[in-house]
Symmetry: C2
Subunit: 237 residues, 2 copies
């Protein structure tokens, strides 16, 4: 693997684990056992590394949220979107943590991120529409759908911060992808009141499998339950 790619990979890993603020170019170079000079040969500065990582993240989520226009939506589709988006969030989780600072530092990033948000909001709205078309939720006026989509986005992007801050003891580093995916429970909560009688029970059962194990998951037990929940997903349609 090329040094350039190793720098990106290590940066992502260190940013995710320790937070972008706590990781300097020196740390990245040291972690790779290369000289700082070498790092600066490949990247002009830390901002450029972050910008490339964002572009990866963006590409990934855009890929996940590419909603096919042809066929109608199933529950399995919906769960897949949710699982995927939370996967993306997990793999680039450093990003939302210091988002405001990063956008203040890099105008390209600010502008790109704005567009990214718009695309995500549009995709969420489209998913709601297709759920209406499929008879999963009751049809709603455009304006309500818009406001609901925005709430979904706020819940998705803030769920991780909530987990990392609402638990004492636990330093913000220790967090599992399972806990993160419990955010799906919160997202589905938003559409609970709109479910049609035909689908209500099914969605409620799906949702239950992501129920957050508050306030502190017991080491083995609760986790395996969530595991079962996640692998069930593909069995629904």
């Amino acid at each position: 693997m090329k040094t350039r790619d190793k720098i990106l990979l290590s940066s992502l890993e260190l940013f995710n684990e320790q937070g972008e603020r706590n990781v300097t170019t020196n740390h990245i170079a040291a972690h790779l056992a290369i000289s700082p000079g070498n790092l600066y040969y490949h990247f002009r500065n830390k901002s450029d590394i972050i910008y490339e990582l964002f572009q990866e993240y963006e590409k990934l989520v855009d890929f996940y949220l590419d909603i096919p226009e042809g066929r109608s939506m199933t529950l399995a589709d919906m769960m897949f979107y949710l699982e995927s988006v939370f996967d993306g969030l997990w793999n680039y989780r450093f990003f939302h943590r210091d988002l405001e600072y990063l956008l203040d530092r890099d105008p390209r990033l600010r502008s790109d991120y704005r567009d990214f948000t718009d695309r995500c909001l549009a995709a969420i709205s489209r998913i709601f529409e297709k759920q209406e078309d499929a008879g999963i939720i009751e049809p709603q006026p455009e304006s309500l759908r818009k406001a609901m989509s925005l709430n979904v986005w706020l819940v998705i992007t803030n769920w991780m911060a909530f987990l990392k801050t609402a638990h004492a003891e636990k330093t913000s580093a220790s967090l599992t992808i399972h806990e993160l995916k419990q955010g799906i429970y919160q997202v589905l909560t938003i559409e609970v009141p709109y479910l049609t009688p035909a689908y209500r029970e099914q969605v409620m059962v799906l949702r239950e499998q992501y129920r957050p194990t508050m306030p502190e998951p017991l080491p083995g037990e609760a986790v395996s339950l969530t595991d079962a929940g996640n692998s069930d997903v593909s069995g629904v349609s």
Copy 2:
């Protein structure tokens, strides 16, 4: 005013305007035209300043969210809670921006903040219960109320970050309390489907007055409309 208090006040102001990350003890001292040594005479370090500011914030919000048990809840009460909480958020807005970092740095803060979150969530739940009692929203099972309260909390605490990141051009500094309070529209969106016929219209009208002026408010026009909305609040009951 005592130097110690001036330090707290200036710190809050600078943190809010520029972000905690961009404000050093040197900046604070310079802004007050005192020496760094003097600052360190009053506070052991930046963390201690932040911790005291948090305690002010906590006290303020606890005061706002003290739900009287005696009488039943009116719409005006509800709007007052919302307005107050967003006021608190505005006055200490630096805090949520770098929350994760701050909690990683100060165990006291982490522990206190956890308790603070729990109290806020409990208060939000209680507000929902009292709205049920008052016939404003339909009664819901405890577990749904819990999940809704958490969503409300996520929306409230993340609304500002959304505003600061979803608008391009606009640097994250320029943000008004009016825009922030448009978060009330998003919070009320969560309870829209649960409104009783008796109150539905009234709440929808109230909510409409906070509707976010996306994507970019025209300089004069849109703002004055929101202005009218906010001052109408006390007229409802």
